[in-house]
């Protein structure tokens, strides 16, 4: 059996009396899209933060490429090859689209301590950034100020910046939100191909996309994973039906 | 150093700490409730001192002078809140710094224009000008003791105000969720004006109380303002309890450092260089205290993470 690339083991996080993450164990295998779904307030965002960095768990470990990264900062995890996109776009809004992508390429190259030559004259960084924009279909907007992008376009830019990192795994928080029907479809096709480059842990509300894409699905309810399996297994799982549809319908 | 001298210095430290608390409490409330950094708080301190000195000069009454200090500072606070400050709540900190820095220039130069550049003197009332005998035979100036008592009473009153009263509940609610209390029908802009005026009145009172020990002059407020900032950094923004603890720590460190450090260096140095090095280090002692707190608790002793 192959080793999981990303492995979350017995993660606990409480805010006061609220158990936001309650013993979550989860694995992301090479080449797969593993979707994480769950009703609002299930603790998905809290879990993502503990995986990608920014929030320390009370107990449990996060393993990435066989290495314990639980104590590492967000930037150290990013440097190790874990790329993350945000639910609410997190971009440099005054900068251009291309500059945001170049920032990613720069982070990947680790070439930030340069104080003289304009970064936009660095042909290699710009080429990498443009290639990433091209892949998500934002190449025409390279010179646009990021604040002027629509919400959907900002989503695409988030993904493009993640691509410039040439990561070993993606953690994506609702990349489809705000994309509209046709945009969603294009993103689905894109992610479908992307899994061959690096596996994706996908948090998503768009169930069509989830069921079309995911190799495996985990369902998070009240901080606990109640089921993990293929799309068909999840559809048939009585506990999942209860969680989503309520007691009576499941009976 | 004799124990009596030491106790006297401790009391001096308490007295300076408690006046710092009066400044810091207002600042920290204003920051906690409105999210505003107010550099002009030192000007309100100065206004209180000048109002007290002027009224004491006309009437000869110290009580009236204190009343005037409270009234003048509260009125000035209310006016600047309504004319300038309320336009700044939604601005970034840089704009707040700039605008309140501009207010300092206006208030300082305005006061210089009205009262001239020479310091005024506010006399300690005759009844309080002598010393009192404390247990153990310690003689201590009764006026300074009065400052400590007034300050402690105000601290208690403030804690009660925040914990028990309607306005206190609104203040606490305003710190956690501005929109929610607006939705509950609390008149936010009135609440803000009241909080600002309350902070201003405390600053004005501190200015008047200290004005009777030191001279009353333009520019007297800013050194105290910066000390109050140190207090808030140590105590944690938005916490009245932090302001009290921080203020006492700063007051004691500053006063005792100035006395004890030269003595300490005198143990292994000749007296003149011990005084030099000791007092130079003493001038830095509270900032070193602040640096230590920052190293271990970046959000202050009672600050929320």
């Amino acid at each position: 059996m192959t080793e999981p690339l990303l492995h979350v083991d017995g993660l606990h996080k409480a805010f006061g009396a609220l158990q936001a993450t309650d013993g979550v164990t989860l694995a992301l295998m090479p080449g797969e899209i593993h979707a994480l779904i769950g009703p609002n307030g299930a603790g998905k965002s809290t879990l993502i933060k503990q995986i990608a960095g920014g929030l320390a768990p009370d107990a449990g470990r996060v393993w990435f490429k066989g290495r314990d990264v639980t104590a590492l900062s967000t930037q150290a995890r990013a440097r190790a090859g874990l790329a993350r996109t945000f639910q609410i776009s997190s971009l440099a809004m005054e900068a251009t689209v291309l500059q945001n992508a170049v920032l990613g390429a720069m982070g990947r190259a680790g070439s930030v301590w340069r104080f003289l030559r304009p970064v936009m004259h660095d042909a290699e960084l710009v080429a990498q950034a443009q290639a990433a924009l091209q892949r998500v279909g934002l190449a025409d907007h390279a010179a646009t100020r990021t604040a002027e992008l629509s919400h959907g376009q900002r989503r695409l830019l988030e993904v493009a910046v993640a691509l410039t990192l040439k990561p070993h795994a993606f953690v994506m928080d609702e990349p489809m939100a705000g994309l509209g029907a046709s945009g969603s479809k294009r993103m689905t096709t894109f992610l479908d191909g992307l899994r061959r480059e690096a596996p994706i842990l996908l948090v998503e509300h768009d169930m069509d996309a989830v069921f079309a894409l995911a190799d495996r699905i985990s369902v998070l309810v009240y901080g606990k994973i109640i089921a993990t399996g293929t799309a068909d297994e999840i559809r048939a799982d009585p506990q999942v039906r209860t969680a989503y549809l309520g007691e009576e319908d499941a009976a | 150093m004799t124990p009596i001298l030491l106790i006297e210095q401790v009391l001096n430290g308490l007295q300076s700490g408690i006046t710092l608390f009066l400044m810091a409490a207002g600042l920290t409330l204003i920051f906690g409730v409105m999210g505003l950094i107010n550099l002009a708080h030192g000007s309100l301190y100065m206004i209180g001192a000048f109002a007290a000195a002027a009224v004491a000069g006309w009437t000869g009454s110290f009580v009236l002078a204190l009343g005037a200090a409270l009234a003048a500072a509260a009125a000035a606070g209310m006016i600047i809140e309504m004319v300038v400050i309320r336009r700044l709540y939604d601005r970034d900190h840089l704009d707040q710094v700039l605008a309140t820095f501009a207010l300092i220039l206006i208030f300082s130069e305005g006061t210089r224009w009205l009262f001239g550049s020479f310091p005024l003197y506010l006399d300690v009332p005759a009844a309080l000008s002598g010393p009192v005998t404390l247990p153990g035979g310690i003689l201590y100036p009764s006026y300074r003791l009065l400052i400590i008592v007034i300050g402690l009473l105000i601290a208690v009153g403030l804690f009660q105000l925040i914990a028990r009263t309607r306005i206190g509940i609104q203040i606490r609610a305003g710190e956690s969720d501005r929109e929610m209390i607006a939705a509950l029908g609390v008149d936010i802009s009135r609440l803000y004006t009241i909080v600002f005026a309350l902070g201003a009145a405390l600053a004005g009172l501190a200015g008047a109380l200290v004005g009777a020990i030191q001279s009353v002059q333009v520019g007297m407020g800013e050194p105290v303002l910066i000390l109050a900032f140190v207090v808030i950094v140590i105590g944690g923004i938005g916490s009245i309890k932090g302001a009290l603890v921080g203020a006492l720590l700063v007051g004691l460190t500053d006063t005792l450092g100035g006395v004890l450090l030269p003595l300490l260096f005198g143990l292994f140095m000749d007296p003149s260089s011990a005084t030099t090095i000791g007092s130079a280090l003493a001038s830095m002692s509270i900032y070193i205290l602040m640096a230590l707190v920052l190293l271990f608790r970046p959000t202050g002793l009672y600050g929320r993470a």
Binding site: E94, L103, V161 | I37, L105, S283, P298
Partner: protein, 327 residues
């Protein structure tokens, strides 16, 4: 050409042209005044790296200005009294050489900025403002209470320090020297803003999370920016001390820190020439208003208040439009 570029060129040329005119008319006092504006501009250009590009509202940059000033004062004082600075383990002499003084000023203010930055960057927002203000005040009180270099009275230097090949006592030559330094630093700051470091620093100001997710640490970016910023302001302090041939604790005062921020905001935050415009405007206001009224700072305060409340974007912003330059 963009309007801001034209404006920048005009601002840049204004100083040497005005100094040249003053020279022709024999108004030495005016040359000194323009030199003063250029030095203030340099100090604020330094601060603008931290404040404008990095978003770090430092209210303690007078600390670096003062350290630069005292670096000059102490070195020159020992040189003019022929006493060594130190002779315990090895002999360290004072100097009257400007380049050496500048290096010492830059190094010592950078070191202070490293210490202050490492502590205060652990916090952010309003904490950062209060802490930098407090540390600035610490240097002020230290300078007052340390008697070896004049304490409250400060130090006078009898003759301006030397620069190879120049007569620095000639106001025009000293101005040229200051202006050359200002030009060099402005050029570098212009490059820096567009270099990889500048992009990352500016991105960290706009969205620290974004910078972390691409694997860069905002703390280190900001600390380096703060150190460079402090060093530039320290260099300005050494020049200011040489201009006046005098240093005193006033260089450390919190009003000084406040005025640096005022220069930046009057000119326009985050714009390369903002501090230049602001410093020129301030020195001009001081020159025009102070004979009119002893209380001229009231007018400055009022203007500043109006700029903050109603004319956001400062002088350059009002004249060149709100759009900030992008490459």
């Amino acid at each position: 050409m963009r309007r801001e570029t034209i404006l920048n060129t005009l601002l840049y040329l204004a100083m040497p042209v005005a100094a040249g005119l003053a020279f022709v008319m024999g108004e030495t006092f005016l040359i000194t005044l323009i030199t003063r504006a250029a030095i203030f501009a340099l100090a604020a250009v330094g601060l603008n790296l931290a404040l404008g590009l990095g978003g770090l509202v430092s209210l303690g940059h007078a600390a670096f200005f003062g350290i630069g000033g005292y670096a000059m004062g102490i070195l020159a004082h020992h040189a003019q009294t022929y006493t060594p600075i130190m002779d315990t383990w090895f002999v360290l002499e004072g100097t009257k050489s400007m380049p050496v003084i500048w290096l010492v000023a830059i190094a010592s203010s950078a070191l202070a900025a490293l210490a202050i930055g490492a502590l205060s960057l652990r916090t952010s927002g309003v904490y950062f403002i209060m802490i930098t203000l407090a540390f600035g005040q610490m240097f002020y009180y230290f300078a007052i209470s340390w008697p070896a270099y004049g304490g409250e009275d400060g130090l006078s230097i009898y003759v301006r320090n030397d620069f190879p090949g120049l007569n620095t006592l000639d106001p025009m030559q000293f101005f040229a020297l200051v202006f050359a330094i200002l030009s060099g630093v402005l050029w570098w700051m212009g490059r820096l803003a567009r270099a990889p470091f500048g992009l990352a620093l500016s991105a960290a100001r706009q969205n620290a999370e974004r910078v972390e997710t691409v694997g860069l640490g905002p703390f280190r970016l900001r600390l380096v920016a703060f150190v460079i910023s402090g060093a530039v302001t320290g260099l300005a302090g050494a020049l200011f001390a040489d201009l006046n041939r005098f240093v005193s604790p006033t260089m450390f005062s919190w009003q000084m820190s406040g005025e640096f921020i005022v220069f930046i905001v009057l000119g326009g935050v985050g714009r390369l020439f903002g501090p230049v415009a602001g410093a020129m405007l301030f020195v001009l206001l001081e020159h025009l208003l102070s004979p009119v009224s002893d209380f001229w700072l009231i007018y400055v305060g009022t203007i500043l208040l109006l700029v903050v409340l109603f004319a956001r974007g400062g002088l350059i912003g009002s004249l060149a439009g709100r759009e900030v330059a992008h490459d």
